[in-house]
Symmetry: C2
Subunit: 416 residues, 2 copies
């Protein structure tokens, strides 16, 4: 006779449902806000129980990094964190860590917003000279969307090429897609089972809002996104070492890692540290995030200069005034103006950005003019990406996805 | 914004909970009955919605097999089936099929009762010359019991050696343990995801009695036991062929395959056929089944002749009468007498078994005497197993567990 073991009830750091707010709705699958300025991130930090990335933390980060932080951190695009101080303590004490980020491949083409976590991840990798694992959750996309296993797997490979084109170092980066990697490394499934033994349905119900009519694949999936936060999921990189991890991601992914952080100590691992980015707005405005399934909401990495021009001119929500007179008199609203927001993400000259902000806010710069600046900023970025993307052959992809040791200077003390 | 796909509600063949009966309790983890004669199998067949293996089916099986059926089938130890007629139709039409069975490795040592499904599986494999896959659910045991991943994996290997010692042909048999095989063949996880996309929490709640406080590993696990019923889970054996499968198993495993049979047509596979065995009684009587976790309930495959003798003499429930006089006058009860039941499973001389039945029923044979026969029947079987088990080296184990094509005559028409 077999009896179920007593599984202790885990008390979550945040017992609330992620979807609870009158104005904003945020979970890993849906983001929406009633405000044109987008989600209220102060409220979100409170609800999620994370911490602000404040000036003191940025200063400390710059001190440890030995250089200025990436503009996306300085400008508050990465605005929230968990345990970044603890991680920096470890770095200063000469401890090792690694980076983990990922993407759900739900379309063949990625859009500009998808680049955001990867850009900062690349900066962190170069700054701290640490190994990086990138997960493509093609299993998740099969479970949540009307996609077959084969379709999701193909999209994972296409997306991986876009990610490689961002410029990651093949010697320090391992990219894997769940539907493939699960069948190539027993340690992955073994860690998933360890995690799945620690988490009850009640808990995923509370964290993700799952219900009785959800398929069992969804209910089990969070463990697959949690597992890469345990370094033993990659024995060919880390051996049996239980290393700390830093996870850069958009804040809607935080529920997965709240669950992970709860499981970590029970499996003898340090809790993962996180830095969270805000959402990249849809062209129509920050009420929703840019989405690959809404063609006109997104600037794709495959768009031509002409398409970019047309999309921004036609669809980018303007914070300008209804008439020229009013605009000159009252100025535009940079908080809601999507063109300005695009520049905030992708124009890295701080002085230039400030000049544009002031000019637009005072009415000196018109809606059409700020759109023109946004277009001319993004066109070369996308074109450059396309050039690099073309160079990513299947062979290069296989190199990134091969199970192998990574070449990195992981002991920070040795660096000194 | 991502929206969950519409998952159609599956209507199960049997909507009832498997645990529903006043006298008997049967689910994949617990078997108990209020009766010393054990579970009422007629009732169970009705509740599960399976079919009796009746004389007509046995006759047909013998005709197709071209030889008498195995004593365990003839004696009604395998008493229930699903779609065996359909499978025999296919065999007669020259269609291919394969066998799938398995075991949950919850102890280092297997007991006599664990042999039952394997003995009939071996008979079926030899009779029909078909490939066989054997699953060791070490993941299940980690999830359900107080066992680590490492402990379950070790037990899986130990149990595999016992299974090999039964005499399976290495050229026709693939043995795999989930915590290992999942990481060696992507097709396994891919099929699990396909299955998990078809089954809701509501459904596993109804079939297995899972609740909100169960861990998510348990909730997802049934898909891992279902997947080997889909031939594409073994691409190195079957390529992309979607072959029919016959699953010999104890009837408590039927809930898994009711779920599987419901999913099969949605994934384009034929529904698996099954033959179900009754439970092997505990030495204390048929109210529970023999269990490896209750030392005195079981005759282990590692027991010495002396241990077997002591256990049967001391613990085997007797269907005899309280006094010699009463016994001589009224005779013993072979339905409840565990020694007789052991002979029914393992003494294959029909005339001899009938002679013992009559002699015991009429009081000619005494309790101590039938125990002696049982002891002398089982001692050489267990000793012989131990001899063969010793010959199973790690190297032989690796051969059985290696991913490879199997060598078998799968097209029945070619045999003629």
């Amino acid at each position: 006779m077999e009896v179920a073991p007593q599984i202790e009830n885990i008390k979550l750091e945040d017992g609330t449902n992620t979807t609870a707010d009158d104005d904003d709705f945020v979970d890993p699958w849906t983001v929406s806000s009633k405000s044109n300025a987008g989600v209220d991130y102060d409220k979100l930090i409170k609800r999620f129980g994370s911490s602000h990335i404040d000036d003191a933390l940025i200063e400390r980060l710059e001190k440890v990094a030995g250089k200025p932080v990436h503009p996306m951190i300085r400008r508050g695009i990465f605005f929230s964190h968990r345990d970044l101080h603890t991680l920096l303590n470890m770095v200063e004490a000469g401890k090792k860590f690694y980076l983990y980020t990922g993407r759900g491949p739900s379309s063949d083409s990625m859009h500009l917003g998808h680049l955001v976590p990867f850009i900062v991840t690349k900066w962190l990798q170069e700054t701290f000279d640490v190994p990086l694992v990138i997960q493509l959750t093609d299993d998740e996309k099969t479970l949540w969307k009307d996609l077959t296993v084969e379709q999701s797997m193909r999209m994972a490979r296409e997306n991986a090429k876009d990610i490689i084109a961002i410029g990651f170092d093949v010697n320090k980066t391992f990219i894997f897609a769940n539907l493939d990697y699960m069948g190539r490394c027993p340690a992955f499934y073994q860690n998933i089972i360890r995690i799945q033994k620690c988490v009850t349905f009640n808990q995923v119900k509370g964290i993700f809002g799952f219900g009785d009519s959800d398929v069992i694949g969804k209910i089990g999936f969070p463990a697959a996104q949690a597992a890469p936060a345990f370094s033993t999921t990659f024995p060919f990189i880390f051996g049996n070492d239980k290393l700390p991890v830093l996870i850069p991601c958009a804040i809607d992914q935080d529920p997965y890692f709240r669950m992970t952080r709860d499981v970590s100590p029970r499996l003898g691992f340090p809790k993962p540290a996180l830095i969270h980015s805000s959402f990249f707005p849809a062209l129509q405005g920050a009420k929703t995030k840019m989405s690959a399934s809404e063609d006109n909401s997104a600037i794709f990495l495959t768009d031509t200069p002409k398409q970019i021009k047309t999309k921004i001119n036609k669809h980018a929500f303007s914070g300008g005034r209804p008439t020229l007179e009013e605009h000159r008199e009252l100025g535009g609203n940079t908080d809601t103006d999507v063109s300005f927001q695009l520049l905030r993400f992708f124009l890295y000259d701080d002085d230039e950005l400030e000049r544009i902000r002031v000019a637009y806010s005072t009415g000196e710069l018109l809606s059409g003019e700020i759109k023109k600046i946004a277009i001319e900023t993004l066109q070369p970025i996308v074109a450059d990406h396309q050039t690099k993307r073309k160079e990513v052959t299947d062979e290069i992809l296989e190199q990134f996805m091969a199970l192998r040791p990574l070449n990195y200077q992981i002991n920070m003390q040795k660096k000194k």
